[in-house]
Symmetry: C2
Subunit: 373 residues, 2 copies
């Protein structure tokens, strides 16, 4: 097994503190850290794709190092696994491995597996420890960090879940080599989001280095580690999302509305693509409100385009619905507090802020312009 | 509305501290306290029986006092509602009321509704506040206090759930007037359990006052309040059940085994009846091991009998299975840590303790004697 030293990003959450290990082929080091958790037995949850590509090798490495892993729990790939039915089956399958309360659940997969298995870990025996082994770029830079877990309801995405921090995150960037190009691009939208939120410098660096990030050079490790650091900082300030953590929703209010409009049909739009459009829109809207320079909005859009990400309503295959439909989908978002519209807007690249009480008419006018542009 | 001043039992859990209100017809005071929580909207969950007996009046009282209550979420009565399917429906029904994250769920019912609705509140929108309005004696003295919520899996009872403390518990003892006699008796087993754990005095008091407790005199309020205080004390010492809280399982290791053996068929055995047998057994077993006086075991059994509760394996309608079956059911219990048997035993009435590493052969021999006695 080739193995190397990981970058370590600490998440200092007091009694719930943990480390994120980032690097190429760091499984060996990851297993050492898992052993330090004092684990008796491990239940590993993964999806069909990741199972056939990576599970065998990882389970063997764990077993070779004396960690007792039960037969893996394998769920169908894709968002539809974030359902009550798959959650119930996952909990039962974890229980069937006869893990006890001090034991461990490992979530090996993209954001879907992380959210689902993390939630199952939160509720099986009223809470088991779990380790995230994110295998998609999106999961490595976003969903595996911060402790939000959950599933979808017919009433909306992520409406049922738990705050449950992992005990460790192992982000092996080599595992992204098998990720489909489209998923890599989608995850990349979340990477540059961190630059857009509060680091102009990181955004500029991404503009220069994105090819190496995609190709799997050391820049990939740096980008993942920076993203995790950025997310961890926000999470430590506001673990339960009562304030600041909302900044991470930059691009997501527009984005979620579009996902809802295409009925979460991944063939049309995956999450990161919706976020890419949302990021471009958040900057164009900010420019329109006179908050940020039009140049900045243009620069954001140009970079998203150059990596092959969508940036406009017109880019949604099959159409993004009417302005009314988008507005309606937006106000159903759970981030809408007591009826008022909250957006994450920007005063420039790296200068995002939470804008409360936005005027619905302004949003409508903006969308109308977007639609006709 | 007749209304009176409640007894108040505080549960000082720091940021999760709350009060338990106990008394006859205290709904008025309860509503005042709910209003103090600063609630915008309430989703009320109840079961069919309690719904037809009490829900209308309670919803009206809330509404008359300016609390906005959505149409109640009604689940079937009985243990079978602690399932994945009813949980999913309950979450969706709560979401359909359009409550938001700062809003409130009220659990109006026995332990089943409390465990189910409390769990739903723990996971809808990753955690909503909730108020327990326990309507069975068991729920008032046990399940509504302490924050354990959950459902059953095919692998066992309460294996999926969350620690989620309520914001308030309203135990209106008048509501017990409609409770079937058998359920009242079953709940009473948990009441005297508190005496058996650490208060000889309370047990003696129960022996003298049980008729008034059943009849609904002020002794009922006292018994409920004492029980809540006793439970709260343990919970405050050990919220997440890493140690001391296990004392509350006095009578439950034997009891759970019997429930499992009758396949949770309430026609044969309800939880409190199983606990009653378990309490008598724990004392007889303690006496057999020379830990407590035979007299004490006799006294416990006599009191259980005098209120009409079962005390022996032979009392289980349809039989309690073989000694092997009981032992097997016992070692499946989730309280069995890494294979060793842990029991709550007693050095006398009010002198219970956690006994680790019990010899399985001793338990087997005891059960054999019980069986042949
Ligand atoms: N919890 C959070 O804080 C948070 C944050 C953002 C997003 N999310 C959630 O994350 C989910 C999206 O995550 P995602 O984009 O990773 O989706 P995903 O888990 O469905 O993965 C995308 C696809 O890539 C495949 N895949 C994953 N890793 C692979 C690999 N190494 N090689 C080959 N194929 C691989 C998967 O099987 C799947 O088909 C959404 O449900 C979203 O709600 C959660
Ligand atoms: N969370 C905890 O800490 C904890 C502790 C002990 C028990 N429990 C759980 O509690 C459950 C048992 O609770 P339970 O005994 O209250 O069962 P329950 O909720 O099923 O109630 C028993 C029966 O009484 C009916 N009922 C309730 N209140 C009534 C009233 N005022 N008038 C008329 N009928 C009424 C119910 O509809 C039901 O048919 C079990 O699932 C057990 O696991 C939980």
């Amino acid at each position: 097994m080739t193995t190397s030293k990981p970058l370590i990003v600490p998440v200092p959450l007091g009694a719930r503190a943990y480390d994120i290990l980032v690097g190429r082929n760091i499984l060996g080091e990851g297993v050492e850290q898992i052993k330090k958790l004092g684990v008796r037995k491990v239940a590993l949850v993964t999806d069909e794709n990741v199972h056939s590509l990576h599970a065998e090798r990882i389970i063997k490495t764990l077993a070779d190092n004396g960690v007792d892993v039960a037969a893996p729990v394998v769920v169908p790939a894709g968002e539809s696994s974030k359902s009550y039915a798959v959650l119930a089956k996952t909990c039962d399958d974890i229980l069937a491995t006869r893990v006890e309360r001090g034991d461990l659940v490992i979530a090996l997969g993209g954001g879907v597996v992380g959210d689902l298995a993390g939630f199952a870990a939160a509720i099986v025996r009223r809470g088991m420890r779990f380790v995230q082994m994110p295998t998609s770029l999106l999961a490595q830079v976003d969903s595996s960090v911060g402790g939000k877990t959950g599933i979808n309801s017919s009433h909306g995405k992520n409406l049922v879940g738990a705050f449950h921090q992992p005990s460790l995150v192992i982000a092996d960037t080599a595992i992204l080599d098998t990720l489909p190009e489209r998923e890599l691009r989608a995850g990349y939208a979340e990477v540059i989001k961190y630059g857009l939120i509060n680091s102009e410098r990181f955004f500029f660096w991404c503009e220069e280095n994105w090819q190496q990030i995609f190709a799997g050079g050391p820049e990939r490790d740096e980008a993942v580690a920076h993203s995790c650091r950025a997310k961890a900082e926000v999470v430590v300030r506001d673990e339960f999302e009562n304030g600041d953590r909302a900044l991470l929703n930059l691009g997501h209010t527009f984005g979620h509305a579009l996902e809802r409009i295409v009925k979460y049909d991944n063939a049309r739009l995956v999450h990161g693509e919706a976020v890419a459009i949302g990021l471009a829109q958040a900057f164009r809207f900010s420019a329109r409100l006179g908050l940020c320079a039009g140049q900045d909005a243009g620069r954001v859009e140009a970079h998203l385009k150059s990596v092959g990400l969508p940036t406009r309503l017109q880019d949604v295959p099959g159409g993004a619905g009417s302005v009314d439909a988008i507005l309606d989908a937006m106000t159903q978002d759970k981030k809408v507090k007591a009826g008022t519209l909250t957006f994450i807007l920007a005063k420039g690249i790296g200068k995002s802020f939470i804008a409360h009480d936005l005027n619905k008419a302004d949003v409508a006018a903006f969308l109308m312009d977007e639609w006709n542009s």
